[in-house]
């Protein structure tokens, strides 16, 4: 970036500034403010009114819409059963290989290890060294 570039930019901004200054509203008008605004057009409220009307109509339709007939008891029970027996198709993804090992706990009724007291009891006194 050179000084020439900066000067060129400054000149461009100066032209823009001069033009803006020439078209600037007088201070007195800006201070009055509201009078400078164009009068509100009634058409401005048409979209708002249309949205409100559409919302009200939708609400009325939803309230007055006839609901379907109530299901019989048998139908309700069948529906409940189908819901309770439902399983997700992805359930099988949750089963891991090797899960059956922790689920089958080995029996502790007989031990293959011979404890020292049991060994003494089984050995006759005379044979002890």
């Amino acid at each position: 970036m050179t000084a020439k570039d900066d000067r060129d930019l400054s000149e461009r901004f100066t032209v823009l500034r001069d033009e803006d200054a020439a078209g600037a509203p007088p201070l007195s008008r800006v201070l009055r403010g509201r009078e400078a605004k164009p009068p509100a057009h009634p058409a401005r409220w048409i979209p708002v009114a249309a949205l409100v009307t559409a919302a009200a109509l939708t609400a009325v339709v939803l309230v007055l819409k006839p609901r379907g007939a109530e299901p019989t008891i048998e139908e309700a029970i069948a529906q409940a059963q189908s819901i309770s027996s439902w399983t997700a198709p992805t359930d099988e993804w949750l089963t891991l290989s090797g899960l059956e090992i922790p689920n089958s706990v080995p029996s502790l009724s007989l031990s293959s290890v011979t404890l020292p007291e049991e060994q003494n009891a089984a050995t006759p006194q005379g044979e002890a060294r």
């Binding site: 970036m1 823009l16 033009e19 200054a21 078209g23 008008r29 201070l31 605004k37 979209p47």
Partner: protein, 169 residues
């Protein structure tokens, strides 16, 4: 005319230029923003504590007011009406008087500025249009000087890409 009104009158044209920059060059909105900003200053809701220059203070108020106006108008009836009515973009070039005044160079600059980020555009405007230093521009925007300097350098480089360099011809 009070002292504050005299101070406003002194930099009114520059303040309008800054309001235009903050309102995407929408003249009607810029005038509205300027009015609200002036009322804030005159009523004392925006108080000048003399920590910076009056110009820097006023520009900060104008920028904040423009942001508030944009937020407030987001769901206003005026905004909704825009969806249903086709109206010309409020660009000054649509005004015949402005068209006759606008030079080709300024028009090219205005178009190029739309390709910059908001921050870059603001910094470029404050430095080149308003002749503020980068430090003062940072104060107006509420950012650090380093950040403002970065936006300034990048904005300048981008403008150089977008604008034909008449200085080198």
């Amino acid at each position: 005319m009070t002292t504050m009104e005299a101070a406003l009158a002194e930099i009114h044209a520059e303040a309008f230029g800054w309001a235009l920059a903050c309102c995407h060059r929408d003249r009607f909105l810029a005038e509205e923003v300027l009015h609200v900003a002036y009322v804030k200053v005159l009523a004392g809701s925006a108080r000048f504590d003399q920590r910076s220059s009056f110009k820097t203070f006023l520009f900060g108020v104008i920028r904040k007011t423009a942001m508030e106006q944009r937020r407030a108008s987001w769901l206003s009836a005026r905004r909704l009406a825009q969806w249903f009515t086709v109206r010309p973009v409020p660009e000054p070039s649509a005004d015949p008087e402005a068209v006759s005044l606008r030079s080709e160079r300024a028009g090219a600059l205005t178009a190029a500025l739309t390709h910059l980020s908001v921050r870059q555009r603001e910094v470029m405007h404050l430095v080149f249009y308003q002749d503020l230093t980068i430090e003062e521009a940072a104060q107006v925007l509420g950012i650090t000087t380093g950040s403002a300097r970065q936006h300034y350098e990048r904005g300048k480089a981008r403008l150089r890409e977008l604008l034909p360099n008449e200085a080198h011809r």
